[in-house]
Subunit: 313 residues, 2 copies
């Protein structure tokens, strides 16, 4: 069961010839969630063979052009492709009117509905859930209202122990009942508790997307223990003042969040185009948090299943 | 003296991983004119090492997303780069309001003015002139008001014959006077007519950009004899009905325009993503007009000087 992130854009406000503006695709069990949608996102989706038409939910962090300017073209393209499913967009309230005006202008005879869900950038709220994933907002600290997103794999039903099925000669009805959490009542009246029949194979995985933001202690608490953290690192720490002034973080600060939050892995992006050597970001982050990585467009980061118990598989 | 076109995008409405949406840059004597501005234009400008900040004039053909959606990001980037020169945009009237709204939304503390010049898509008019180029509108026939542009190198001042300078021992004042069209009066009162002192080294070059459009006889007349013609070819002629229905041309029709207009060279683009083999467009066009070429993103097409007389260089 896949849980991975593909990077479509890793530049900050000024794209380069090698780095498009911000956009990530989260793949949870072959369901695709788009996070931010910088200019050229539709081109990157094609380049990296991601299925445009299977994106039903787009999560926007804030209304700066380098995070949203690909959405007008993407919606126009989805329309040309004959999409009929509703498209849900989550983002701060101030973008809705302009988005809808652009959609109206650039989409000839719309074949599907665009539904905008304004999220409160200052609250921690569960804003989306389906059978694969639960999405919670993560307030950020930027020059404009901005919100990150924490994606958690939906809790899984316990598995039934393979050895139990033959031991008690279980019927399909028994199995369904046990999966629903019931105990097993044997013909002789004995009761086998559900916990002795089932096991948790693996824990839900998690991904937090945090861009753009100043260093934030509150954020540390909100992303505690996530498996994969994307935290922007627009600047090196030598430019801390500039980072503060522009509402951004340094690689060292991002790594400090990762360390304090005890995350599994940190990925850094949103690099300012002033830096030619991205290795410097990696070195700086690793000095604080060893499991740090810098991203490039086209990278896919897999989060492995967190096996709890496999002896009954 | 350069006169060349660099292709930034050659796809039709649906970009592919290899072809961005429409945008060309015309270089006339190291002055850069942007024609159309599809999504990702700023990325392509960087990729092909074209100077973003030296573009002062943008010519938009019509208000479909694949021809204009890169302009919001480009303007936002120019602002971040600290541009101060006015930016002039030429296009049909219906795009102005939405453009200005987007510019306002996405451009923080604008450092320069965006000046929109609404052009009449039904008239042939000289809409722009500087000392290097003269731009004339070329009405197109599309589903929405659309206008192409004809760029002609500005007529050159005659050169002074090198042999004349020593023969008559000309002063700087004499040379300026002759360059301004005056005859030369010798000390003895003899008059040497200007035509015997000067020569035309080369003729002005021309480029016509025609996308999107149905086949048009009127267009043939308007691009008569241009050195380089870009004519859209969204479809092969086997899809003529679809081309007609969507307001587009086939490769055969584009080549017919080139033939009838007796142009120097034809370049074809705006290919529908349904075709995997672009060679088919080339074959179809060449069957009508031999000097046909298909374009790819990143191509630069040079137009050589049209030497009239070089014996006095």
């Amino acid at each position: 069961m896949t849980f991975s992130v593909t990077i479509l854009g890793s530049s900050s406000a000024l794209p380069t010839s090698k780095r498009f503006p911000s956009a990530h695709v989260l793949n949870v069990h072959e369901r695709f969630y788009l996070i931010d949608c910088g200019e050229g996102t539709q081109i990157q989706l094609r380049k990296y063979h991601l299925p445009l038409n299977r994106i039903n939910n787009i999560f926007l962090t804030h209304s700066h052009g380098d995070h949203v300017l690909g959405i007008f073209g993407l919606i126009s393209t989805l329309n040309l492709l004959g999409r009929t499913n509703d498209l849900h967009i989550y983002g701060v309230a101030d973008f809705e009117d302009l988005l809808m005006q652009n959609v109206k202008f650039f989409t000839d005879k719309p074949s599907f509905k665009v539904i905008y869900h304004a999220v409160d950038p200052f609250k921690v709220e569960e804003i989306y859930t389906d059978k694969h994933v639960v999405v919670t907002t993560v307030p950020l600290r930027h020059r404009v209202p901005a919100v990150g997103y924490l994606f958690r794999e939906a809790p899984k039903q316990p598995n039934i122990r393979k050895d139990i099925i033959s031991k008690y000669n279980l019927t399909i009805a028994d199995i369904v009942s046990i999966k629903n959490g019931h105990d097993l009542v044997l013909p002789n009246g004995d009761i086998i508790p559900n916990s002795e029949l089932t096991y948790i194979h693996s824990q839900p995985r998690s991904y937090a997307y945090c861009s753009d933001t100043l260093y934030s202690e509150r954020l540390v608490g909100l992303v505690k223990g996530v498996d994969l953290l994307y935290h922007e690192a627009t600047f090196l720490h030598s430019e801390l003042e500039l980072a503060r002034k522009t509402g951004h973080s340094t690689a060292l600060q991002a790594a400090t969040v990762a360390l304090k939050a005890n995350v599994g892995k940190l990925i850094l992006g949103h690099f300012s185009s002033r830096y030619k050597d991205i290795q410097l970001f990696l070195n700086e982050a690793k000095s604080v948090f060893q499991n740090s990585y810098v991203i490039n467009d086209g990278d896919t980061i897999q989060v492995s299943p967190k096996i709890v118990d496999s002896q009954f598989d």
